[in-house]
């Protein structure tokens, strides 16, 4: 993994590298992972050329190991992402991205008449179809596709 593209971003000693994120959702992935206030080093690269994605993004997070739950959250936006756990500059573990069965308090319901958009309530969606992605609002039963999905 020492291609020229990789060298544009400094490597990290310990932490997590998320690769193959569609470029346009890279910042959303950062939001999901709550990285705005993060104190350690984060490197973000956008618009790298990718055969499968067109343009991809990479996020390298120093000193933080993502949990499976966090990885699952990423899957909503970047179903083809790869997540590598780095230890002492080497890939220690690859975590497979897979959709969870339910999504708690990450996604906003697209139905303006849903109670979750009118009262302070945690949202909950059940995945009813993985490909193409379809989620069902636990409260108002609205079905949303990936285009309707917006994050809280």
């Amino acid at each position: 993994m020492t291609s020229k593209k990789e060298l544009k971003v400094p490597g990290i000693k310990d932490g997590t590298v998320i690769d193959h994120i569609p470029s346009r959702v890279t910042f959303k992935v950062m939001r999901i992972l709550d990285l705005q206030e993060y104190k350690h080093v984060i490197s973000v690269v956008l618009n790298l050329r990718s055969k499968t994605l067109g343009k991809k993004g990479i996020i390298k997070i120093g000193s933080r190991i993502l949990t499976q739950d966090e990885v699952n959250k990423i899957s909503l936006l970047a179903p083809n992402a790869t997540v590598n756990i780095i230890s002492n500059y080497e890939v220690k573990e690859k975590i497979k991205v897979s959709l969870p069965d339910e999504i708690r308090n990450i996604v906003k319901c697209s139905n303006p008449k849903c109670i979750t958009n009118n009262e302070k309530v945690n949202t909950l969606f059940n995945i009813i179809n993985k490909s193409p992605l379809q989620v069902l609002c636990h409260h108002c039963e609205r079905v949303m596709g990936s285009d309707d999905i917006t994050l809280i």
């Binding site: 008449k113 109670i115 979750t116 009262e119 309530v121 636990h138 409260h139 108002c140 039963e141």
Partner: protein
């Protein structure tokens, strides 16, 4: 019946019930209708929280409870002082559960009943949440079909009118998908069944047809479920004007249908069924409204643990 317990359960969406459970509720309604026990809900108190106008549903619930010896407290829209003071639904429910044994809620926002059920320790019945669900209506519709036709399986059911916004149609179609119905969706193009319901029926391998003209399919129907074009659900009043008179059924329908066609309607009707049909044996919409009583009694008795 084995493995079915309703005590303490919420009645929020028709999707929460298996075929076996639906049939069980209908069988209890039948028993109660035959032998009403006016002490069954004695000492039971229901909160009727109606945040949205409703005549039939509210009266039907109140009647169902009181005829079995129970009582009600609550409010209807216009008297909701806590709302004016800005109290959240969550807080109102936490209060109501201290005062009563069961909460019956109608609310204009979709998902409100589900949220109420999350807030309350006591059972909650959804009496309509916006354009989403109205499960007791669906159960009384099933009960009516079963009573009139002697069965639920293998019937040809037509749905006519506003299939886009009509929640009664959506829920009934989902419920009937357990019973191998053949469905006929009759509506103007702009008011067709929403795509995700159509996808769901396809997934369940339900046979259905979508047409605009009733006469194309009327001869095949055992049941015709008519709905009102609902002014209040249209975002644009001009659109409503375009479609409000799309269907106006009268006695001529009976010349081109099966002799025992059952005409249903969740009511209120506006102009879609001419009153000249009311006296025909085919018109069962007022009986249908009456069937709300045994169904709601059965549900209340079951979730309050008065019947097992």
């Amino acid at each position: 019946m084995d493995n079915i317990t309703f005590k303490g359960r919420d009645i929020i969406s028709i999707r929460d019930f298996s075929k076996k459970e639906l049939l069980y509720i209908l069988s209890i309604a039948k028993k109660i209708e035959k032998n009403p026990n006016n002490e069954l809900l004695k000492h039971s108190l229901a909160s009727l929280l109606f945040y949205e106008p409703s005549t039939r549903t509210r009266l039907s619930f109140a009647s169902a409870i009181k005829r079995l010896g129970g009582n009600t407290i609550g409010f209807a829209r216009g008297e909701v002082s806590s709302l004016k003071k800005g109290e959240t639904l969550w807080d109102t429910i936490k209060m109501a559960e201290q005062y009563s044994d069961v909460i019956i809620i109608r609310h204009p926002l979709e998902g409100a009943a589900r949220l109420a059920a999350e807030a309350a320790e006591i059972p909650v019945i959804n009496a309509g949440d916006g354009a989403n669900q109205h499960p007791t209506q669906t159960l009384l519709d099933l009960y009516t079909i079963q009573k009139e036709k002697g069965k639920l399986e293998n019937l040809n059911i037509g749905f006519l009118g506003d299939l886009k916004y009509g929640r009664t149609v959506h829920s009934l179609a989902i419920a009937l998908s357990h019973f191998n119905s053949k469905m006929f969706f009759i509506s103007p193009n702009a008011l067709k069944m929403p795509k995700h319901y159509i996808d769901e029926l396809k997934q369940k391998k339900i046979k259905f047809t979508e047409v605009q003209n009733l006469s194309k399919v009327s001869k095949q129907l055992d049941v015709l479920y008519v709905t009102r074009i609902q002014k209040e659900r249209f975002p644009d009043p001009l659109e409503y004007e375009k479609y409000k008179n799309a269907y106006q059924l009268d006695k001529s329908l009976l010349n081109e249908s099966k002799k025992n066609l059952a005409i249903m309607h969740p009511l209120p009707r506006v102009g879609e069924i001419n009153p000249e049909l009311d006296d025909t044996p085919n018109a069962i919409y007022f009986k249908q409204a009456g069937n709300g009583i045994p169904i709601r009694q059965a549900l209340l008795a079951l979730i309050l643990g008065k019947i097992k």
